[in-house]
């Protein structure tokens, strides 16, 4: 038997409009820590989902222990000894530690669970992980994040996992807990268990990793790199740069007298972000760059009033907006295109025109009665201007592609003639061709005098589209300046804790 545990070759996974994985190769050996590196959207999460049987690949082969397998369900993966510990821990908070560890394969006799046996076994597993102090009878919801992670690991081991995928396990831990995590990982690998480790923190990869695979745009760009020897600049070079050149519209020189429209001062929310200040002038696009979880989306939602700021103020045209009041923001001319288009912005089963007019219904109503014809005419005009396809305003929004749905959201705020537009991941789920179109639209809006705040996980998008950028790391702004004066390497370096300096 070779020491190769897993070999994935040419994995392709397509979603409507997006090719999430486009030829991924990955091989993992017994007893190693294999690090997976890539920018947001490079396909790491999708790859894990394929590996754990949650998604089925459209092409490619998977070998486990030199045998060709097909992972059609999470059960298949579990049976082959593949387990995953997700960022959002998938534990049942109201069950006990032992119940969670053995969820789905409880020790039982005649259909009755054997609680004592489960508790004893759970205690052994926890002790093996160096956490004998966690009582198996404790409710999981009462444990710290680190404790819950240990329970997740115990669950993986209870299934005799040979391969454990850890998706940014250190994100929820403080440094002492990270040390303990590493100790546990070393203990696991010494027993021959392989770990696929995903992290954005390069110094962790140096510390714990054996080999590195780098993903970019859904494909493997390098595999089997030495985790300790490969220079950081080389890793960042592999992760950045794009084979697809997006066309960004040219920037316009801001008139010197362009008024400041949006002012944000010392905005804070505990555990999300602190001391954020920036100003956006009419016609300007300000981009927020940073990793998922760095507080970008939370800032937008707080500016919009969907979250209540703990401290700090937001002003539009010099007028103070009271914290936590969406209606006040909307009235002041602020619009938000939220991150989760489907769950936060759209009424999927409703017609296009209803989705467009939902924020300005008053304009089409007299005495509470809606004039549907006027609504449709206004929506028609906008969808034509934005080239929403298929044409027509009576289809349910559900039938539109991602890019066209995003245009519908933009049209909603255009109809209100808004002064400030907050765009959260405006091109998520939008296919490549439609992206430049969205970029063009956003720039055109700015040229018409709208102040725009843009959040995107894709550094290139922020740098290409925005006039100025604010780089975020763990809830703080670590750099603010013109977009032309900073490049992708520098931004990545900043958000990954300066490890490349």
């Amino acid at each position: 038997m070779s020491d190769e545990l897993l070999r994935m070759t040419g994995i392709v996974k397509e979603f409507p409009g997006v090719r999430a994985l486009d030829g991924v190769d990955l091989d993992v050996r017994r007893g190693e820590v294999h690090c997976l590196l890539g920018q947001n959207g490079a396909g790491k999460s999708t790859l894990i989902r394929v590996l754990t049987g949650a998604h089925q690949p459209d092409a490619g082969t998977i070998h486990v222990n030199d045998q060709l397998v097909s992972l059609n369900s999470p059960t298949d993966s579990m049976r082959l000894g593949i387990a995953a510990i997700y960022q959002e821990l998938d534990l049942v908070p109201d069950l006990t530690v032992a119940e969670n560890v053995f969820l789905g394969h409880e020790p039982a006799r005649f259909g009755l669970t054997r609680r004592h046996e489960a508790n004893t076994k759970a205690r052994e597993l926890l002790r093996g992980l160096g956490h004998g102090e966690i009582p198996p009878g404790r409710t999981v919801g009462l444990l710290s994040a680190a404790g819950q992670q240990v329970v997740s690991m115990a669950r993986a081991l209870s299934r005799e996992a040979q391969l454990i995928v850890m998706d940014e396990p250190s994100a929820v831990l403080d440094s002492e807990e990270v040390d303990n995590l590493f100790r546990v990982i070393r203990d696991l690998t010494s027993r021959g268990v392989a770990v696929v480790y995903i992290s954005h923190r390069l110094e962790e990869i140096r510390q714990i990793g054996d080999r590195v695979t780098v993903l970019k745009d859904g494909a493997t760009v390098a595999t089997g790199l030495d985790a300790r020897q490969t220079p950081t600049s080389e890793l960042i070079r592999l992760m950045t740069g794009r084979s697809i050149e997006y066309v960004f519209p040219p920037r316009q020189e801001l008139p010197a007298d362009a008024p400041v429209v949006l002012e944000v001062e010392n905005l804070s929310r505990p555990r999300e972000f602190a001391d954020i200040s920036f100003a956006v002038r009419a016609g300007e696009i300000v981009g927020l760059a940073g990793l998922v979880g760095s507080g970008r989306s939370e800032i937008l939602e707080t500016v919009y009033g969907a979250r209540r700021a703990a401290t700090g103020v937001v002003r539009v045209d010099g007028k103070l907006l009271r914290a936590g009041r969406v209606q006040e923001s909307v009235k002041a001319g602020v619009g938000l295109a939220p991150e989760e288009r489907k769950s936060q912005a759209l009424l999927l089963d409703e017609a296009v025109y209803k989705n467009i007019t939902v924020s300005s219904m008053g304009r089409f109503a007299s005495g509470g009665f809606l004039n549907a014809r006027a609504e449709k005419e206004a929506a028609e005009e906008l969808t034509k201007a934005l080239d929403v396809r298929p044409a027509g305003v009576e289809h349910p929004v559900r039938n539109l592609s991602g890019g066209n749905q995003q245009k519908v959201v933009l049209a909603r705020w255009l109809l209100r003639d808004c002064r400030v537009l907050l765009l959260d991941e405006p091109t998520r789920g939008v296919d490549v061709g439609a992206r430049s179109e969205i970029y063009g639209l956003v720039r055109k809006l700015a040229d018409n005098g709208v102040a725009i705040v843009l959040v995107s996980s894709e550094v290139e998008e922020v740098l290409g589209l925005a006039d100025r950028v604010v780089v975020m790391r763990e809830g703080r702004a670590v750099h603010t300046g013109p977009a032309q004066d900073i490049d992708e390497h520098r931004v990545l370096d900043l958000v990954m804790e300066g490890s490349a300096v």
Binding site: G17, R19, D22, G23, R211, D217, G218, A219, T220, V221, A222, T223, G224, L225, D226, Q229, T230, S243, I244, Y304, A306, V326, Q327, S329, V330, L336, P338, S343, Q344, A345, L346, L347, L348, D349, E350, A351, K354, V358, S359, M361, A365, G368, F369, L370, R389, P390, E394, H395, R398, N399, L400, S401, G403, N404, R412, D431, V432, G433, A434, E437
Partner: protein
């Protein structure tokens, strides 16, 4: 050891923003437009799709309900003959349908808005008792029966207001908040009535609401008016549009600037108001106010709303469907009663109808993209 596999990217080959309406266009009415798309989505043959599309369209769902109602009537005529098909019997059915019908209209709004109201029956009881206390009846005798009516409406609306405030601002789930109102309102009604049935002695009230207008009972007219007003409100006003938005996706509605909490309160007040109207109608029909009025109305109303095609999870609702749902259940009761079948048999049939209707609804919903 570190071999590098740099792959050229193939992503450029991706199609340029092809508009892909991913599923069958089920709401479109224009057959010329739907036809090519259905072909594209594959799956069913053309003939099957026509039927499915029809059933899924608003009118089509109602066609199903009409067929069910017609079938029931055929059974009624076949088993009970003239006793079923007489004008008097039809008016009886309509008069019985009217009270629960008005309640169901209110329930349609609450359910479309993503909620549920279990307290409708209790609110009817409380409103009927409060509007028939000696003091209120005295006022009505001295001045005008309008005092009884406005008392009932106010009591209903006030209960609805409490429901709405608890749900929207107290963040209590609708099921629990209205369950509490169910217990509380009926209990309060019993205390007020001292567990006695209160006879209405205001003749002008009984004469007006118990009477007929152009041969049709006033109660039926009231149901027609409430249903028509409900239809307009749900389908033609900003209030209705917001109801769909709040029920369909509350978060999206909030981020679009809709006052979701205030709207939720309004929906429950509206439902309470409908219960007040229903209480007036029930008082006229029975000439009493009683804490036992409106027993199990919550279940009848929810059943009628759901088989009418309103989505229990909110976001989709139909007044016409609800009216048919009410008529189907009332006719069913009537047919069973005329054939001397027991209440228990009726309940079994009712249960079956609910299950079949919801199963059908889910099948149709599952075909939607």
């Amino acid at each position: 050891m570190s071999e590098e596999v740099a792959r050229p990217q193939a992503t450029q080959d991706q199609p340029q923003d092809v508009p892909t309406p991913s599923g069958q266009a089920m709401i479109e009415v224009d057959p010329t437009e739907t036809a090519p798309r259905n072909g594209r989505s594959g799956g069913d043959g053309g003939g099957g799709n026509v039927v499915v599309n029809l059933l899924k369209s608003g009118a089509g769902r109602n066609v199903g309900l009409v067929i069910a109602l017609v079938l029931l009537c055929i059974v009624g005529v076949a088993t009970a003959g003239d006793r079923f098909a007489s004008t008097a019997n039809v008016l009886t059915i309509l008069r019985l349908a009217a009270v629960i019908g008005v309640v169901s209209i209110g329930m349609t709004f609450v359910i479309t808005g993503g909620g549920i109201d279990l307290s409708v029956g209790a609110m009817v009881a409380l409103a009927s008792v409060w509007a028939t206390t000696l003091a209120t009846q005295q006022l009505a005798t001295d001045y005008h029966w309008i005092f009884m009516v406005s008392t009932a409406l106010l009591v209903g609306a006030a209960c609805g207001l409490v429901n709405g405030l608890l749900i929207a601002y107290g963040k209590i789930v609708p099921f629990i908040a209205t369950l509490a109102m169910l217990a509380g309102a009926r209990g309060l009604a019993e205390i007020l009535a001292d567990r006695k049935t209160q006879i209405i002695s205001v003749n002008s009230f009984v004469d007006f609401f118990g009477g007929s207008l152009i041969g049709i009972p006033v109660l039926v007219w009231m149901f027609v008016l409430v249903a028509a007003a409900g239809w307009v409100l749900l389908n033609r006003t900003t209030f209705g549009r917001r109801t769909f938005a709040v029920g369909g996706n509350a978060e999206a509605a909030r981020l679009a600037g809709i006052k979701v909490q205030r709207h939720t309160v309004a929906l429950y007040v509206l439902c309470g108001l409908c219960c007040g109207i229903a209480a007036v109608m029930l008082m006229a029909r029975t000439t009493t106010g009683s804490a036992t009025h409106g027993q199990l109305y919550e279940l009848d109303a929810i059943a009628a709303v759901v088989i009418g095609g309103t989505l229990l999870s909110g976001g989709r609702g139909t007044i016409v469907g609800t009216v048919f749902g009410v008529l189907i259940f009332t006719t069913l009761n009537n047919v069973f009663t005329l054939n001397n079948l027991s209440i228990s048999a009726q309940s079994v049939a009712k249960g079956l109808i609910i299950v079949i209707a919801v199963l059908l609804q889910q099948r149709l919903a599952a075909r939607a993209p």
